[in-house]
C-alpha cells in the first residue's frame, strides 16, 4: 500500500530537515526520504558550522538573518545544545582590492538589516588575537554572525520535526522513480500552486512507494540526477536542474582553551586556492576549510593529501599562534553549486507541485532554517513580502548569469 502525504521532501539534510520541521509545525503531513541512515548524514555534516548573514545579495541576507535568529535562540527555546556561538564574521583586509570589494557591499548589507562595520587593524587584532599585523589594513566585522554544530543541529531539527507529530522519516531509502500524474482543475488542500492544476507524485524508493501532491527537492548535489528521473504522465519531464557539485576539504583540531570566537575569512587567492576560513568552536576546536582553485568538480569526497599542507601554511601566515595546535581529522564534502553561486528556491513551472530547494552552494547549513520556513510558506501559500524577495532572487528561471561575490 502506498503511503499518502501532503508533502514529501527528498533529502534529510541542511534544507530538508528544517523544512520538515517548519512544514510539520504548520500541520502539513510530511515524509522525508533519505538514502543515508540518519539525519544530516549527507553533506550537512561536512559543513564547518559557520553561520553568517554577511552576504552580498538580499535573498541570502534575509534568509540568513532569520536562520541566525533560529540558531541563536534554539537552546533557550527548545533546550538542545546546538553549540551556537555568537562570534561574528571577520574578513581581514591586506590589499586594496579586498578593501574595495568588501566596502562596496556595505550599503546593501545594511539596507537588509545586517549589522556590519569596516573596522581598524586594532579592532581586527582585538577580535582575532595574534593575527598577522604586517600589512593589515582593517576588515569587515559582522558581530551577530556565529557558528553552531551541524551534527547537533541536524539532530535537534530532526527531533523537533518528529515532535510535531506530522513528519515521518524514511532513512536508508534511495529514490528510484518519481512519477507524476497530471490532475486537471482540482485543488488539493495543501497544494497551492499558481494555477489550479496539480500533479499526484508517486515516489518509488528501493523499499516502498509514496503518494503526494507536493514534492520538495532538497537533494543538494543530487538534484540534477533527481530531476532526470521525473516523469509526467509516463513521459520524461526532461528537467535539467543546474546543480553541479564541487568539493572542498575541511578539518578540525584538538580542542584548546578558547582564544578567539570569530570566523576569519581570508579572501586573498594563492596558488591552488581561493579563500580559506576558520574559527574556534564552542568546544575549543579550530575548524577550517579552503576553496580549491581551480574547483574540483564532481562527486568525489575522498580526502586528499594536498589539503593539509596547503591550508596549514596559509592559516599560519594569518595566525602564527596556531602552529602548535594539532589537527585531528579532515573530511571532504560537496558544495552543490549553481552557475551563479546562488541557491534555487523555486516552484517548477513545468511540473506542477515540484518545489526545488537546492543548489545552496555550500551555504545550505546557514540558509537552511530560514529557507525551511519560506518553503513551508510556499507550500501553504503564505509568502510574505520579504519571502518574495528571496524566491524571486532564487528562481529557477533566472538567467544564472552573475556570480556571487561572497560565495
Amino acid at each position: 500500500m502506498a503511503k499518502n502525504y501532503d508533502a514529501i521532501i527528498i533529502g534529510a539534510g541542511s534544507v530538508g530537515l528544517p523544512a520538515a520541521m517548519s512544514l510539520g509545525a504548520l500541520g502539513v503531513k510530511t515524509a522525508v526520504i533519505d538514502k543515508m541512515p540518519s539525519a544530516g548524514q549527507g553533506e550537512n555534516k561536512h559543513a564547518i558550522g559557520g553561520i553568517r548573514a554577511t552576504h552580498s545579495d538580499p535573498g541570502k541576507i534575509i534568509a540568513c538573518i532569520r536562520s541566525i535568529e533560529i540558531f541563536s535562540t534554539w537552546k533557550e527555546i527548545y533546550g538542545d545544545d546546538i553549540e551556537w556561538l555568537t562570534g561574528g564574521y571577520m574578513f581581514p583586509v591586506y590589499r586594496e582590492k579586498e578593501e574595495n570589494l568588501l566596502k562596496s557591499f556595505l550599503p546593501i548589507q545594511r539596507k537588509y538589516g545586517l549589522n556590519i562595520d569596516y573596522v581598524s587593524p586594532d579592532v581586527v587584532s582585538e577580535i582575532a588575537p595574534g593575527i598577522n599585523r604586517d600589512g593589515l589594513l582593517g576588515g569587515t566585522f559582522s558581530p551577530n554572525d556565529g557558528s553552531a554544530s551541524p551534527m547537533n543541529s541536524a539532530n535537534a531539527f530532526f527531533r523537533k520535526a518528529k515532535e510535531t507529530g506530522k513528519v515521518d522519516f524514511y532513512f536508508k531509502e534511495g529514490v528510484k522513480g518519481i512519477k507524476a500524474t497530471h490532475i486537471s482543475n482540482s485543488v488539493l488542500n495543501a497544494g497551492s500552486n499558481a494555477n489550479s492544476d496539480s500533479n499526484n507524485f508517486v515516489v518509488e524508493t528501493d523499499k516502498d512507494t509514496y503518494n503526494t501532491p507536493i514534492l520538495i527537492d532538497a537533494a543538494g548535489p543530487f538534484s540534477r540526477q533527481l530531476g532526470k528521473i521525473v516523469t509526467v504522465d509516463s513521459k520524461p519531464a526532461n528537467l535539467d536542474i543546474p546543480v553541479f557539485p564541487d568539493s572542498h576539504e575541511g578539518g578540525v583540531t584538538e580542542p584548546v582553551e578558547p582564544f578567539f570566537k570569530t570566523m576569519l575569512v581570508d579572501l586573498r587567492p594563492a596558488k591552488g586556492s581561493k579563500n580559506y576560513y576558520f574559527y574556534q568552536n564552542a568546544h575549543g576546536h579550530i575548524i577550517f576549510c579552503i576553496t580549491p582553485d581551480p574547483p574540483i568538480l564532481g562527486f568525489d569526497k575522498r580526502e586528499t593529501s594536498l589539503f593539509l599542507p596547503q591550508v596549514a601554511a596559509r592559516m599560519l601566515n594569518l595566525m602564527p599562534s596556531l602552529k602548535n595546535i594539532r589537527v585531528r581529522r579532515v573530511w571532504r564534502g560537496l558544495y552543490p553549486m549553481t552557475p551563479d553561486g546562488s541557491p534555487i528556491v523555486s516552484w517548477n513551472k513545468d511540473v506542477q507541485g515540484l518545489l526545488h530547494a537546492t543548489g545552496m552552494c555550500g551555504q545550505g547549513y546557514m540558509l537552511g532554517p530560514g529557507i525551511g520556513e519560506i518553503i513551508s510558506r510556499m507550500v501553504t501559500d503564505q509568502l510574505t513580502e520579504s519571502d518574495k524577495i528571496v524566491t524571486d532572487e532564487f528562481s529557477l528561471y533566472r538567467s544564472f548569469g552573475g556570480e556571487e561575490a561572497l560565495k
Binding site: Q41, V256, S305, L316, P320
Partner: protein
C-alpha cells in the same frame, strides 16, 4: 619523591643512562635522558597527568603506545603525548588542567614545500615489529627498495616488551629465545640488507585518496634548524604498502574504568619491561588470555604483587603452561569472575570483582574487593587496521601482516610477515617462485588456538603412543609425560606439558636427540624415544618457554633424587641452602626444601636459573614450581560500592558514559555517526580506537541486530599532527 624504578630484574639489564633534571608543575624531578616523559613521571610516582576539561576527571596513562591521548602533558609550553615524547634536560613539564592554552606567538614562519619532496618507494612498511621486520628482511634479500617506518625509537615493536621465551619452533621462529632478543636478531639481519631504509620515530598519520601516505618524522637533526631536532611531515608514495601496525588493546566498560591506574596489560609491559619503571605496587589483572597471564608473570618479575588474574570464561584462554607458571608462583586465577568496579577518588585504590552466573551476570553476595593501585585490562586485542582499510578504499595495492591482519602470537606474525613480503615481491615481478607451502601451514599452525588440556584418558593414550614409538628402550618412555611413569633410576626430564600448543624447542636442544613430539607435529606433546640415553644436560629444562620441564636425577641418591627446576626470578631468592617452597604444576605446596645448587648459563639460556633441590622420590616427579607469593592476598571489607554499570565511561576522550549511549539507542539511534551529534561519542583524539567495540557491545546488549547499525566513518588523520608540521614550517 620516591623513585619507582626497577633496580633488579631477573631477565632484563637495568639500563644505564644520563640522569637529567626536569620540572613537573614546578617541582624539580630527575629522570633518564631520552626515556618517555610518561615513564619519567611514573618513576617519580606521578600517575595523574591532568584533569579532563569536560568533567575534571583525573587523566593518566592508558595505551602508552602513542594511540590515545590520555597521557597528554604540557612540555615546554606545548601539549604533547607524554608516552611518545623523550625527556630532555631542563624540560618544563606541566599537567593539563582543562583545555591547553595556546601560547602567544607572533613569529610568522617560513615554509618548505612539502609537495615538492614526495618520497617514492617501491614498498612502504608501516610498523617495525615482528611482522614488519620479517617482511622487510624478505624484501631486502631480493634487493627491493623498501622503507620501513616505526613510531618508536627502536625496532622490534611489541617484541621489545616480551621478556619471556617464545613458543613455536627454534629453526623458524626462534622458539626458546626471549621476545626482546628476537627483536635484536631480526634487526641485525635487516641491517645487512642495503635496500631497506629504516625511519624510526616516524609515525604514519594518514593515507589519502591520491595514494599518498603522510608520515611525521620526529627528532630530525639535519642542520636545517640549527642544532635543534625538529619534526617533519613527509609524503610517501609507495607502489606497494604493507601494514604491520600490530594491535591495540580492547577496553572494558565498568565504573571507574578510566581512573588513572586502569590500563592495558600492554601499556603495563611498556612501563615495566621497556622502561624498567615499577609502575605499581599491587595489580589485579582482568583477562586470562596469554597477554593477561604473561603480564602477571612480568609483574612478579618486576617486583610487583599480583592479587589475581580473573577470567569470565570457565577456563583461561591462554596457554596452560603460562597459567601454570603464574599459579605456581602463588598467583590465583579466578575463572567465571568479572570486574565490577575500580574504586578511588583520583586514582585506583581498590577493585571489586564478583563471580558470574550462567547468564554472565554478577552473583550478588560474591563481591570481593582488593586493595590495589593498578587494574590491568587484558580482554583481547583489535587489529590496528585503519591504514589497511583506508588504503583498500583508495584502491592502493596494500597488504597486511601480523596482528594487523589477524590477532595471533608474535611467532605467527613473523611468518605472515615473511609470506606477505614474498607476495609483495611477486606482485612487483621481482620474485617468480611460489610462497613455500610450508610457510603457509606453519603460519596457520602458529595462529592456532591452544588445545584442550589433556584429560587422564588422553594422557594414557599418549602413554601408549609413547610405548609404541619407543625405539630401543625397555619401557618407561612414558615417564616423561606429566611425571607419571614408573622408572625411578638414572636421569630423565619430566614434561608437565599437557596441552597442544605450537611449541617444540625441547626437541631441537636435546643433545641426545631423544625428545620428540607426538607425530613430529609442532603442536604434539613431547615424549622420550629412549629414556636411557638421557645424560642430564638440562637443555630442555632451560629452553622450555612454558617452564614446564624438570630434570629428575636418581643417579646419586635413588631415594632422594635431585630435581632441577627452571626459575626466572631473582637469584637472591634461591641462594644455596635457602629453603624454597616447592609446588606441583597447579601450585599445590609439596613442602619446603633447601636449594642444593643453582646453575645458570647466561650465554645460552639467559635469564633462566636452574635450581636444584633434593626431595623424596615420591614427590620428585611432581615438583615443578617454586612458590614466590607465599600467601594469598586477602580481600578487604568495604562499604557497598554501588556504582551502576551505566556509569562506565565508554568514550574516554569525550567522557561519554554507557548510560548516555544506551539512552540514545533506546531513542532509536542506529547510526554510530549520529551518536556524535547527540553526545560526541567517538569525536575525541583517538578517533574511536578505544570505544568502537564497546559502543557496538551496547547495541548488542540492547538487543539490536548489528546488521541494522551503521558503523562510523573513519577519516584521516589517525594521529594528531600540529599545523606547523603539516605546513612544512622551518625552524
Amino acid at each position: 619523591m620516591t623513585s619507582k624504578r626497577i633496580t633488579q630484574h631477573p631477565v632484563l639489564d637495568i639500563p644505564e643512562g644520563n640522569n637529567v633534571s626536569f620540572t613537573w608543575n614546578g617541582n624539580r624531578l630527575e629522570g633518564r635522558e631520552g626515556e618517555m616523559l610518561s615513564s619519567a613521571l611514573f618513576a617519580n610516582g606521578v600517575q595523574i597527568f591532568g584533569h579532563h576539561h569536560k568533567d575534571n576527571s583525573p587523566q593518566g596513562i592508558f595505551c602508552a603506545n602513542g594511540q590515545c591521548s590520555q597521557c597528554l602533558v604540557i612540555a615546554d609550553g606545548l601539549p604533547v603525548k607524554s608516552c611518545m615524547t623523550p625527556l630532555r634536560e631542563g624540560m618544563k613539564v606541566e599537567s593539563v588542567e582543562g583545555l591547553p592554552k595556546v601560547p602567544e606567538d607572533d613569529n610568522i614562519p617560513t615554509f618548505e614545500d612539502i609537495d615538492s619532496q614526495i618520497k617514492d618507494v617501491d614498498v612502504l612498511i608501516i610498523g617495525g615489529g615482528p611482522a614488519g621486520l620479517s617482511a622487510a628482511i624478505e624484501l631486502g634479500k631480493l634487493n627491493i627498495k623498501t622503507l620501513i617506518v616505526d613510531d618508536k625509537d627502536r625496532l622490534g615493536g611489541k617484541l621489545v616488551l616480551q621478556t619471556h621465551k617464545f613458543f613455536g619452533s627454534v629453526e623458524d621462529s626462534h622458539a626458546g629465545t626471549r621476545g626482546f632478543e628476537i627483536g635484536h636478531i631480526l634487526e641485525k639481519k635487516l641491517a645487512e640488507l642495503s635496500s631497506v631504509e629504516i625511519w624510526l620515530e616516524t609515525t604514519a598519520v594518514g593515507v589519502f585518496s591520491d595514494k599518498v601516505v603522510g608520515v611525521v618524522r620526529e627528532n630530525i637533526k639535519d642542520g636545517s634548524n640549527g642544532n635543534k631536532a625538529h619534526s617533519k611531515y613527509i609524503k610517501i608514495r609507495p607502489q606497494k604498502m604493507l601494514v604491520a601496525t600490530g594491535a591495540r588493546e580492547k577496553m572494558l566498560p565498568f565504573p571507574g574504568n578510566t581512573l588513572p591506574g586502569v590500563y592495558g596489560a600492554g601499556a603495563f609491559q611498556t612501563l615495566v619491561n621497556r622502561d624498567l619503571v615499577k609502575s605499581s605496587e599491587r595489580v589485579l589483572i582482568v583477562g586470562g588470555g596469554n597477554v593477561g597471564i604473561i603480564a602477571g608473570y612480568h609483574a612478579i618479575q618486576a617486583g610487583i604483587e599480583v592479587v589475581a588474574v580473573i577470567e569470565g570464561l570457565p577456563e583461561v584462554g591462554g596457554y596452560k603452561v603460562h597459567a601454570d607458571k603464574l599459579e605456581r608462583l602463588g598467583v590465583p586465577i579466578y575463572t567465571r569472575h568479572t570486574v565490577l568496579s575500580a574504586n578511588g577518588k583520583d586514582a585506583v585504590e581498590s577493585v571489586t570483582i564478583a563471580l558470574l552466573d550462567d547468564k554472565w551476570k554478577a552473583i550478588k553476595g560474591t563481591e570481593k574487593t582488593f586493595k590495589v593501585d593498578t587494574v590491568l585490562i587484558a580482554v583481547g586485542l583489535s587489529p590496528v587496521n585503519e591504514f589497511y582499510l583506508k588504503a583498500k578504499d583508495w584502491g592502493m595495492d596494500v597488504y597486511s601482516a601480523g596482528d594487523a591482519q589477524e590477532i595471533a602470537e608474535a611467532s605467527a606474525a613473523m611468518f605472515t610477515g615473511k609470506i606477505e613480503g614474498i607476495r609483495i615481491a611477486k606482485s612487483l615481478g621481482v620474485y617468480n617462485g611460489d610462497i613455500p607451502d610450508e610457510w603457509i601451514s606453519k603460519a596457520a599452525v602458529l595462529k592456532s588456538r591452544p588445545g584442550v588440556p589433556l584429560s587422564e584418558d588422553a594422557l594414557s593414550a599418549l602413554r601408549s603412543y609413547c610405548r609404541d614409538n619407543k625405539k630401543d628402550s625397555d619401557g618407561g618412555s612414558n615417564d616423561a609425560v606429566n611425571g607419571s611413569g614408573s622408572v625411578e633410576n638414572g636421569v630423565m626430564p619430566v614434561f608437565h606439558c599437557t596441552q597442544e600448543i605450537p611449541c617444540n624447542p625441547c626437541t631441537s636442544v636435546c643433545e641426545e636427540g631423544i625428545i620428540k613430539t607426538q607425530d613430529d607435529k609442532i603442536t604434539g606433546l613431547p615424549y622420550l624415544t629412549d629414556i636411557k640415553k638421557c645424560k642430564g644436560c638440562m637443555n630442555c629444562v632451560a629452553i622450555c618457554p612454558g617452564l614446564a620441564a624438570t630434570l629428575v636425577d636418581y643417579r646419586k641418591d635413588a631415594q632422594n633424587p635431585t630435581v632441577t627446576l627452571p626459575y626466572e626470578l631473582w637469584r637472591d631468592t634461591v641462594e644455596k641452602g635457602q629453603l624454597v617452597t616447592i609446588t606441583d604444576v597447579k601450585g599445590e605446596i609439596m613442602g619446603d626444601y633447601p636449594v642444593e645448587r643453582v646453575v645458570a648459563n647466561k650465554k645460552k639460556f639467559p635469564g633462566t636459573l636452574l635450581v636444584q633441590v633434593k626431595m623424596g622420590k615420591d614427590v620428585a616427579k611432581k615438583a615443578i614450581g617454586i612458590k614466590f607469593q607465599k600467601f594469598p592476598i586477602e580481600s578487604i571489607d568495604v562499604p557497598d560500592t554501588s556504582a551502576l554499570p551505566d556509569e562506565a565511561v565508554i568514550c574516554r576522550c569525550e567522557r561519554v558514559t554507557a548510560g548516555e549511549i544506551r539512552s540514545a539507542i533506546r531513542n532509536g539511534v542506529r547510526d554510530v555517526n549520529q551518536l556524535k551529534g547527540i553526545n560526541r561519542t567517538g569525536m575525541g583524539s583517538c578517533g574511536s580506537k578505544t570505544c568502537r567495540t564497546m559502543v557496538l557491545a551496547i547495541f548488542r546488549d540492547e538487543g539490536i541486530d548489528l546488521k541494522e547499525v551503521t558503523e562510523r566513518t573513519d577519516r584521516p588523520l589517525f594521529v594528531e599532527v600540529p599545523f606547523g608540521t603539516l605546513a612544512g614550517m622551518k625552524g
